[in-house]
Amino acid sequence: MIVAPIFISLLTALLTLWNKEHLRWVRSLSLIGSVSCFGVAVNIVATVLMAGPQQIHFGGWPPPFAISFYIDTLSALLLLVSSLIALCGTVASIATVSLRWEYKGYYTLYHFLMMGIFGAFSTGDLFNLYVWFEVLLMSSFFLVSLTKHKTSILGGFKYAVINIVSSLCFLMGLAFVYAAVGTLDMRHLNELILIEGQSGVFIIGISLLVVAFSIKAGLFPFYFWLPASYPAALTAIAAVFSGLLTKVGVYALLRILIPLTGGESHAILPYLYFMALVSMVLGVLGALAQDNIKGILSFHIVSQVGYIVLCFSLGSVLGVAASVFYLLHHIVVKTNLFLSVAYIEKVGGSVNIARLGSLWQKDAFIAVMFVISALSLIGIPPLSGFWAKVFTLQSAMAQEKILAVVLCLVVSLFTLMSMLKIWLNVFWKPYQTPEPQFSASRFKWLIVPLVILNIWTLSVGLASAQVFELAERVAIELVPRGER
């Protein structure tokens, strides 16, 4: 049951390969696959909330030796959000991706990507996590460079090299961790560490893992690949990347570091705190300097990942809960902003703010959709972003981290400025854009994900107390008993 999302994605990917000349078959299959993944994810969340963490062991071996899948509340919530994003991404791809790429196996790659993401969220074994990372990276390399323009190939190459270096780091860390503890099953590892303490070799291993995951999460000083590659991808796929790929890195950091708080590896958290602060500031400054909407939004990812890491680098239950809430808010809002860009790209014919304008008169719908997500990202009540920032500030205040509080507020202000830049130029400035040449009626389907994701932002904002309760439950599961 809990591995169903992975198998459904695999099956969908293979079936789309089988009969790829028939676009209708491929598209409907893709949609059916995504919908059933979402359905299963809802079911998994319900099961985990009612009956506690679920697990499954492959290969008939007893627990520490078998390949285990383990889903607790954190994994279940992330599976839910990522399958929602996968569904919205599928609809958006059907609506916007040009026929050329659809015939060339776009959906196959897309579902392999999803398989990697679902796998990374549901595995309970470190080496298995490495394998899922590779699965999702392989498909994302091809998805970035799919269009074979100069920028997408070069962006794809940079993206590939830096991420492979991070994977090598990951593997090196695995070797050290295994040498120190003798197991790679995450829960077994945590139990052994609690009993035996953390040796020097183990700390080296964990540090290497932290470096690897920080590269994948796009933290300072490892974020340069991100704004170079995301804008080069097709907008529909950039939306899925922006929502999920860096967040897989953040999830891995949470998963590895937080259960070990209290031990010697606790000393890594202050470094992460520093890295998070710098990426918050540099990300938003980079966004201010961009003229390409996708570039601006890509830099925002760096800044927002900074917020998420900042929360859990505090190491407290409140901080971890805040970062989980932030994840649930951020994944959805970021994807929605990129999907708005996909819409703008079709209506206005460009993604450069200098060549866009007066969209407010032309298409009020997209203006409203964009404004809701943008305000949520900045942090305006009653949207989810406001509560995410409130909880962040609360957890920072609780430990009297004044610098963090000040920077959070200043960065929010700069985020507002860069969003204003998009708003004034794209929607407000009088400008004669060329008449849109829609070739396909399928384009109108893009409205569906935009509306769904905005409803999510609004409802998470309105039900913030209940969602935060869930996030606290996650935090209590993760933070070891002695540290609460």
């Binding site: 030796f65 080496f127 394998v131 590779e134 392989m138 390399f141 091809f142 460079s145 074979k148 100069k150 920028t151 190939i153 070069l154 794809g156 190459f157 940079k158 590939a160 090299v161 492979i164 270096v165 994977s167 090598l168 593997l171 090196m172 695995l174 070797a175 050290f176 295994y178 040498a179 003798g182 790679l184 170079a228 804008p231 390409n292 570039g295 993604v351 450069n352």
Partner: protein
């Protein structure tokens, strides 16, 4: 002896990785990958934990070959576009 092998592979791998040539970079990643596979083998020494690293290395080798292929494809395409072997001269012209 094994440790020396790992060290040598790491040195060569990192040196190639830092070279400015596309091909050097790709080969460097390959060599580094082999170094890390040996490191994994070393991590399982002693007691009864030798079996798992061998299984892990087998998987890692397969993944490594796949990655090499992907990188070579990207590098070839990139070379065709830019006519530039030197990674330092890649410009970032957005739009």
């Amino acid at each position: 002896m094994m440790s020396l092998c790992v060290a040598a592979l790491f040195a060569v791998g990192v040196w190639l990785l830092l070279s400015r040539d596309w091909l050097g970079l790709v080969i460097g990643i390959g060599v580094l990958g082999h170094g890390i596979n040996l490191l994994l083998l070393l991590s399982g020494e002693g007691e009864t934990r030798e079996a798992l690293p061998q299984a892990l290395i087998l998987t890692a080798i397969v993944i490594g070959v796949g990655i090499q292929a992907v990188l070579l494809v990207l590098a070839t395409l990139g070379y065709e576009f830019s006519r530039q072997r030197d990674t330092d001269d890649l410009t970032e012209d957005m739009e």
